[in-house]
């Protein structure tokens, strides 16, 4: 099969479409012919050598895709079945082996491209905010980077769950996007300190900044608040005042999806289908695709992510 291969270590531009062996199936896996593969910032980090591939995972990039089952292996799935897939790697290719617990239905009315763009963000946001932090009706939900891929999904999910949604972003234009999606409290971090605006009010915080916001996040936290860090664009080492955290009875988690084992991923996929797919089917949550590119243009796509010129999702079509 053809797949994207990195020919030079740490050089994103060295990605090339090459002939490689088609994956063979392990027990419990199906072979999916990839029709579309979503692109994530983690892919860029991986090409730069900053996101280690978990043991046993494909070296090929790509954490989500949509396509058609061409071999059902020892599973009860059927050849010809159209699926969306949460991957541990391998999506930038014509074929990928997928553990059956990571198969999801294509949401109603979705194209392969649309389906491939939603898997990673839906599983990430739901597993952290729904399953781990337990966001519920009436709570205040603070989202950093509200206008990004994670943020725009999280805003809509928060509103669908009945939360008051607060967002931070760096421009009036980005905040307008957040407002259109339903955000209630709009904070331009260049003009205001979010911790002053939301002092003691945020029941749940979705954080992609890390160290730089740690003290402010604890200040913004409500009693029994829960902050989940899934990105560290603002560094890893911060000062934590446990006394302040204790005064809030607060909780801080930091998580990632990729390193989880198959059973854990299957648990998350099941819960995401149950809780998020109805919101996708009914269009209560939508997702903006910036544009698509052919598989051979993977290096260009990641360069665009690096340049920060993209406002929606990039998807590779195969």
């Amino acid at each position: 099969m053809k797949a994207i291969v990195q020919t030079e270590e740490k050089v994103t531009a060295s990605l090339q479409l090459q002939e490689v062996p088609t994956p063979t199936l392990k027990p419990g896996e199906v072979l999916v012919q990839v029709k579309a593969a979503g692109i994530n910032r983690a892919d860029l980090l991986q090409t730069q050598g900053n996101y280690p591939v978990p043991a046993g995972a494909s070296e090929i990039l790509g954490l989500e895709c949509a396509g058609v089952i061409v071999e059902a292996g020892d599973t009860e799935n059927e050849v010809g079945q159209e699926v969306a897939c949460l991957l541990t790697g391998g999506g930038y290719a014509e074929y990928v082996a997928v553990p059956q617990g990571q198969l999801m239905p294509i949401p109603q009315g979705y194209s392969f491209v649309e389906a491939a763009s939603i898997v990673e963000v839906a599983c990430t946001v739901w597993s952290n905010i729904g399953m781990l932090a337990g966001l519920r009706e009436g709570q205040t939900f603070l989202i950093h980077g509200g206008a990004g891929g994670i943020g725009t999904f999280a805003i809509q999910m928060g509103k669908a769950l009945g939360a008051t949604v607060a967002v931070t972003a760096g421009s009036a234009e980005k905040l307008a996007t957040c407002k259109e999606l339903g955000a209630d409290i709009l904070i331009n971090y260049k003009e205001e300190d979010f911790a002053d605006v939301l002092k003691n009010k945020a029941d749940v915080i979705l954080d992609i900044i890390g160290a730089k916001y740690l003290t402010q996040n604890v200040k913004a936290m409500a009693k029994d608040g829960h902050m989940v860090t899934i990105g560290m664009q603002g560094g890893v080492k911060g000062e934590l005042n446990l006394g302040h955290l204790l005064a809030k009875r607060g909780t801080i988690s930091a998580t990632a999806l990729r390193g989880r084992d198959n059973a854990d991923k299957a648990r998350i996929v099941r819960s995401t289908i149950e809780n998020m797919w109805p919101l996708l089917d009914s269009k209560k949550i939508s997702h903006h695709i910036d544009h698509t590119l052919p598989l051979a243009k993977a290096a260009d796509a990641l360069q665009k992510i690096q340049d920060g010129t993209i406002t929606g999702k990039l998807v590779l079509e195969i």
Copy 2:
């Protein structure tokens, strides 16, 4: 009624037995004649001005007691009923008003003194380790200060739940106590770094040290580990490496029982009765009482806590 009153701010020795008004009942409260009142380190901190009394709570010391209901108020409890009580304050007195959700049965075969000594530790350890961190069979449970009042209860609870229990303590004698109670892994923190011994192994950590151990606790944490800080004997401000926490998918909580509202306390009391009382009834968990003193000797009792000469629990008899 007679109660212990602090006559000079921040001076523990100024505690005196004085005549004060008997509490009047709010809706949902009962009046308990106190037979025994447990003494906690938090009481000492309160006399020193370092533990603010929650709004609306009694200014009188005392977070746990056992006694007899003498007025049932508007509740369905009965006069004459013997009870143990989780208090927000007021235990160092002849009578105390108690919200009905904070009443507990006297464990089987327990005296008032024994019952008064177990309430705070049982609710604290169970709410944090059972309810919040979800300790379960087969997991590794690290307890700092294994030989203290919290630690000795936690060791026995951990073993009863089927966990492997690791403890830190500062002497061979203290570690021998922990071993007798069932601890599996004994770490003298003066001789070994617990984070080296338990690197990546501790599923649940009960921490009373705070900042000083923060980095080591994250290092000791297993994948999906959960650390709960309930004391900060080693300071409040520490460095948190969110990258290390994310690599573990770890969670850090810091909590306290006293500031919770009545509904929250009732929820904890119910779950503690359901899960811990059978272990007390069957003597799978026991609790060491150092000695008892009369109510008038409260100042002496707290001085002994300050001196650190006590190896078990102190209880006031009324």
